[in-house]
Subunit: 342 residues, 2 copies
């Protein structure tokens, strides 16, 4: 392994100067820094991040625990991951991918290794076994998403009520009174208490009742075929529906093509609004879906910054910071229009 | 910070025994290990992964450099990342996400930090500026993908020739003689030398010439609308085409719906074969696409294992290991069938 002395000799400076550059302990002229860094590169000197980590008692590694097995992270999920990784880099931390099941055992093993300064949880369940593992380990952690009772936790999440308000306002302004909510189901055992589905359904039922709207709520598999079949039955059984809110991005394109295949024109006869998705998925439908865009990048970014606040807080806060909720943004596509007059 | 003595006292064992558990240096009875690990958890003792890394001169961190900005990593790209992260975990390494541009500057800064034992490059360009940065830093690295002249590099990649052979055999067995290749384009400046597009096009031209097939090669934007428009023009200008190979997964669903909208039934009148994609994307089309499935998980896994071999090799090998190429797998969907007899 190359030593600091070798770097110093090659750069024609003192070891102390090399150390100033390595540890940013004192200002060094750009020219000198340039000479030293060139010498390091030429000698293959490896700045000892580990030693610095040991000194600071911090690894500057943040673990992103994501259950890749239970839930495919498609384009929409990838926006959360990319937002988190970019924020970590900007804050001079590194995001480590921990592909672990929602089941807590694997996470426990990784936490015991003590490598990460903190953990960011994604795909949070209403009753998430991972929380207790992290609490017992005493490791700082934040959630993107939340449990059924999250008051004691540090979390950021989608503002489902605000998002539903935006969605219903949009449809009501267009004159829609009879609206269906089509979600993903049946869910695998582990995901049965998946928060976003439950919260969206509850907000939909509560708000539509309050607004005096007629509603239907149903599930279908997360496939284009599933969406086609579901919507074909739906329009047969509920001929007076004028709008469908789809929280099932893999089925949404099938909802649109299924409607068209049974002679229901989108959006002339039926409006389709894709709830909680990303542009990539909206573009997979023809015509392109009007959507409530998931704030993936923003939540990934926010989750990491809050986790870093926790990691660096001295002393460790006894209360979590106030949660931050971000609504989805309405992005106009070509699948919503004025309700047909009957 | 909790000390080993505190852990030993609480667990009622000697410091040496705690150290055996920490460093796996000597066998310890499950019961004792359990007591010690409970004591660590209760005291919030953090096994010092940093100290061990320093001792072993290895961080056990592998960096995955992926240019999230240039290229959206959708479901297909995510399979590479997940396969790599899972293999790293199995080998007791950790995969760190480095979202850096194909442009080399950012990568240089990260490499200089010396945190990672090695780097895995994805989305490799035929002339990739990141290679020189890694070579100058003397850091072990492997590629998933390859440059125009990869002989001196350690890489795994898709076997484009073998994949094209499988694709053309499939279409020829069905009697197709006039075949189009629809790829993604125009590409952003940085991606203009993106390997997979060039290699696929070259293999397609070479092999179809050799087999005496009539071909058309064209590009369209990576959107459903782009696929629709391109295919509408295509069938108007080339009415005798019977099959379209699509290497543009975001346009593929539009190719199918576009054909149907102009009265060309899929697969009865026209076969559509999606080249280099994943089940998630194949399912976004209706009917579901027959595809050449990208070996994402396998290549992610293989890339990481080869990188770890490099990292742990003593002495550092002077020659790269033989490259490994994996073909895509033909997965039957509902969009290819016997060529119509004219």
């Amino acid at each position: 392994m190359t030593t600091m002395r070798e770097v110093a000799d090659r750069a024609g400076v003192s070891i102390a100067t090399v150390s100033f550059v390595l540890n940013d302990t004192k200002p060094v002229t750009p020219a000198t820094r340039e000479r030293i860094e060139t010498a390091m590169a030429e000698l293959g000197f490896r700045r000892n991040a580990m030693a610095r980590a040991l000194a600071s008692r911090r690894s500057h590694l943040l673990a992103l625990a994501y259950p890749a097995l239970e839930h495919k992270l498609g384009s929409t999920g990838m926006e959360f991951v990319t937002g988190a990784a970019a924020a970590a880099r900007e804050m001079e931390y590194h995001l480590v991918l921990w592909p672990v099941s929602n089941d807590a055992t694997e996470l426990g093993e990784l936490v015991a290794d003590g490598l990460a300064d903190g953990v960011l949880l994604m795909e949070v369940l209403l009753d998430d076994p991972r929380i207790e593992v992290l609490q017992r380990a005493g490791l700082p952690f934040s959630l993107i998403g939340r449990t059924a009772d999250p008051d004691a936790l540090d979390y950021v999440d989608i503002d489902f009520d605000q998002t539903m308000t935006i969605a219903l306002d949009h449809l009501q302004e267009l004159g829609h009174q009879r609206i269906a909510l089509l979600q993903e189901g049946p869910l695998q055992r582990l995901l049965q208490s998946y928060g976003p589905k439950r919260r969206t359904r509850q907000a939909f039922r509560r708000m539509t009742r309050h607004r005096g709207l007629d509603v239907v709520v149903l599930d279908c598999p997360p496939t284009v075929g599933g969406g086609r079949q579901a919507v074909t039955r739906l329009v047969a059984e509920h001929p007076d529906l004028t709008a469908i809110m789809v929280q099932n991005e893999h089925a949404a394109a099938g909802v649109v093509s299924g409607l068209q295949s049974v002679g229901v024109a989108v959006p002339r006869d039926m409006s389709v609004l894709s709830f909680l998705t990303s542009p990539d998925m909206a573009m997979m439908s023809d015509p392109e879906l009007t959507m409530l865009r998931a704030p993936g990048t923003a939540l990934g970014d926010l989750g990491v910054r809050r986790l870093i606040d926790l990691v660096e807080a001295k002393p460790r806060p006894t209360e979590p910071a106030a949660p931050q909720l971000i609504p989805c943004e309405l992005v106009a596509g070509e699948t919503t229009a004025a309700a047909p007059s009957r």
